[in-house]
């Protein structure tokens, strides 16, 4: 039995006017750290709400931990841990009071689960009497994760846990997830940040309610079969416009400090530099494709 099985799941809002998910199917193995990667509006939150039984699907079926999300939703509710996208603790309660409340909600003692949450909770324990609303973004996130873990769930749903958190805390957070994975907890996590995808076992790239591709981060990138170059010049905007108009250029888009240029077989670097020799400070070098490049490629298809 897989941890999560999703079969042609669809969901629309406003009486079918807005299609949030269209026939999504995939499976998540036990103990896997599975990432849903996609921009806002890709349907990530809808999928989380369906799997945590907060919403009912229009069509299709899914099981979580072997239980049907429609018929056996009560069973699922005691087995999963859920951390919604927004900060969803009580800002007027202290760190400790929040934790105790969520323990009571799931019918456990904080002590029973202390070993599981300790690596995370220890970092915020010095502030246990502080109101949750007064914590920093990173600390709020650690508290929310501690609360989601308090009942030792077999599957953890984390909806954009690192949004609005600084780079150091983000990296720490992924270390914590790796620790939880080692203890056998299945984790489904969503993020709009492509750079975080490499920390997952497998990822699903999604956009506008559809899955564009599912694989390990390594193999996803390997599926990028075009040549890729990084180009730069003094006037980046002119470069972008000129490059896009050239023969053999499939795609050219801004990528950090440079532009990424996706080339087909007819492209040659020599011809490119010759034709754009009038552009000041032109540089071109071959580049390693990233998940973001793959995402853009799949999205355009």
């Amino acid at each position: 039995m897989k941890a999560i099985e999703i079969d042609n799941l669809s969901k629309s809002y406003n009486k079918g006017k807005v299609q949030a998910l269209s026939s999504v199917s995939f499976e998540v193995e036990r103990g896997e750290l599975f990432g849903l990667i996609g921009p806002d509006g890709a349907g990530k939150t809808t999928l989380f709400r369906l799997l945590t039984t907060l919403l009912s699907p229009d069509a299709g079926r899914a099981t979580v931990d072997g239980y049907d999300i429609v018929k056996e939703y009560h069973a699922i509710r005691s087995r999963v841990g859920y951390m919604p996208g927004r900060f969803s603790l009580y800002p007027d309660l202290s760190v400790e009071e929040n934790l105790q409340f969520f323990a009571a909600l799931f019918g456990v003692n904080v002590e029973e689960s202390y070993d599981l949450i300790a690596p995370i909770y220890k970092q915020i324990e010095p502030f246990r009497t502080r109101r949750a609303g007064k914590l920093s973004g990173g600390m709020k996130q650690k508290l929310a994760l501690s609360c989601a873990l308090i009942h030792r769930p077999s599957i953890l749903f984390l909806d954009e846990p690192t949004t609005g958190v600084d780079a150091v805390s983000r990296s720490e957070f992924w270390d914590m997830l790796a620790g939880l994975k080692e203890r056998g907890i299945t984790i489904l996590v969503s993020t709009p940040y492509m750079d975080e995808a490499s920390r997952c076992d497998r990822i699903a790239l999604c956009n506008e309610g559809r899955i564009l591709g599912i694989d390990t981060p390594h193999d996803i990138v390997r599926g990028f079969d075009n040549r890729l170059y990084g180009i730069s010049a003094k006037n980046m905007f002119t470069l972008l416009e000129r490059a896009r108009a050239m023969e053999g250029v499939v795609e050219c888009y801004p990528f950090g400090q440079r532009h990424h240029l996706v080339a087909d077989d007819s492209f040659s670097v020599e011809q490119f530099t010759r034709q754009l020799s009038d552009i000041e400070g032109l540089e071109i070098a071959s580049a390693e494709p990233t998940i973001e490049d793959m995402f853009i490629k799949l999205m355009k298809r």
Binding site: L55, S56, R77
Partner: protein, 364 residues
């Protein structure tokens, strides 16, 4: 079961106790309203300025004016001439003018024998405040009739509230209002706050039935309402001298039913509203307005147009205020108001039933 109900109640109580401003408002509103309605806002006639116009100051006129001046409800502002009447009333210096006709004494004597029939005294009253004007007119007539040595045909006795104190009337009304405010409004806002903050999502994805959490939410508000109830009863008894001859326990029991009803209303509102603002507006428009207008708090129900009289039947506060008035002022025992109690009980069960049915353990 280890997920004890107690820890949910504790959490709700912490929310309330830490929101000091709201807490203060809830505790102060009853006191402010009671004092306002009890002392400042009253329909009683007090300190009405009266001027007198008399062509000649005969014994009869002097005697009447003396009675007027001695009366605690009126302040005698001196004699004025016929021409000044309009200006004095307009400027608001006086609210009523008593005009004695010429030859008052002789014609008064004739009137006593039934010979003279034309009016001897004219009352000119500023009726921009209808309540004050009509009460003042009635009082003035009584006072002045006495001097015309004519016995009234009626002997009037004001039962239950012989001094016509308006506070007696307002106390039950304020109770009807406050409990809706504390129970319905605050409960609905606190439930909707969880939706708005996103904590409802986490609460729903837990093995606890949401109904249990909701009931835990109601308990602290119920406790606060009981404190407010005791406070109001004490204020009413010792500050406003409301008699409460019907027994405090009866009033208390009916109030408890009304508290339940208000809590259920709050739950119903929370199932409809998605934001705290909406919950506040619904509470204010759908609950406060009818209570103010259609419950007999401000206007007697009998004075309303037929349509609104009919509408007032579905306003719970109408029945509660009616019941409390009967017990507090008329001194009836609880058995005598069985009809009000039955209606309130029925409404509670119906509203609670509907809102529990409507309460969804999913997001849509």
């Amino acid at each position: 079961m280890k997920h004890n109900f107690g820890s949910f109640v504790k959490k709700e109580s912490l929310h309330i106790l830490r929101d000091k401003r709201t807490m203060l408002i809830v505790m102060c509103i009853p006191i402010v309203l009671m004092t306002l309605f009890g002392f400042a806002i009253s329909t009683e006639v007090n300190n009405i300025n009266v001027a007198v116009v008399a062509p000649e100051r005969t014994d009869g006129v002097e005697e009447s004016v003396e009675r007027l001046a001695a009366n605690e409800y009126f302040t005698f502002c001196g004699y004025i001439s016929q021409d000044e009447i309009d200006a004095k009333l307009r400027s608001g210096e006086v609210s009523a003018v008593v005009v004695f006709k010429s030859d008052y004494d002789r014609r008064g004597a004739l009137a006593a024998q039934g010979i003279e029939t034309t009016p001897l005294i004219q009352l000119i009253v500023d009726a921009s405040n209808v309540n004050t004007a009509s009460s003042a007119t009635a009082y003035l007539q009584t006072i002045l009739l006495g001097t015309a040595s004519e016995q009234s045909m009626f002997e009037t006795r004001m039962m239950f509230n012989p001094e016509m104190k308006s506070a007696y009337n307002f106390v039950p009304g304020i109770m009807g209002l406050i409990f809706i405010l504390v129970c319905a409004m605050m409960t609905s806002v606190s439930i909707v706050r969880e939706k708005e903050m996103g904590t409802m999502e986490v609460l729903l994805v837990s093995p606890v039935r949401p109904v249990k959490i909701i009931f835990a939410k109601m308990i602290p508000y119920f406790a606060i309402s009981c404190i407010v109830l005791i406070m109001i009863l004490l204020l009413a008894r010792f500050l406003l001298d409301v008699p409460m001859t019907g027994g405090v326990w009866g009033i208390f029991s009916v109030s408890l039913i009304y508290l339940m009803l208000s809590l259920s209303l709050g739950l119903l509102v929370s199932t409809i509203a998605e934001t705290q603002m909406a919950a506040l507006l619904i509470s204010a428009m759908v609950m406060m307005m009818p209570i103010l207008m259609l419950s007999g708090l401000l206007f007697p129900i009998e004075n309303l147009p037929k349509f609104f009289q009919w509408v007032s039947h579905i306003v719970p506060a109408r029945w509660y205020i009616d019941a409390v008035r009967k017990m507090m002022i008329q001194g009836l025992p609880i058995a005598a108001i069985w009809k009000d109690v039955a209606i309130l009980g029925g409404m509670t069960v119906a509203i609670l039933g509907v809102s529990l049915k409507k309460f969804n353990d999913k997001l849509e």
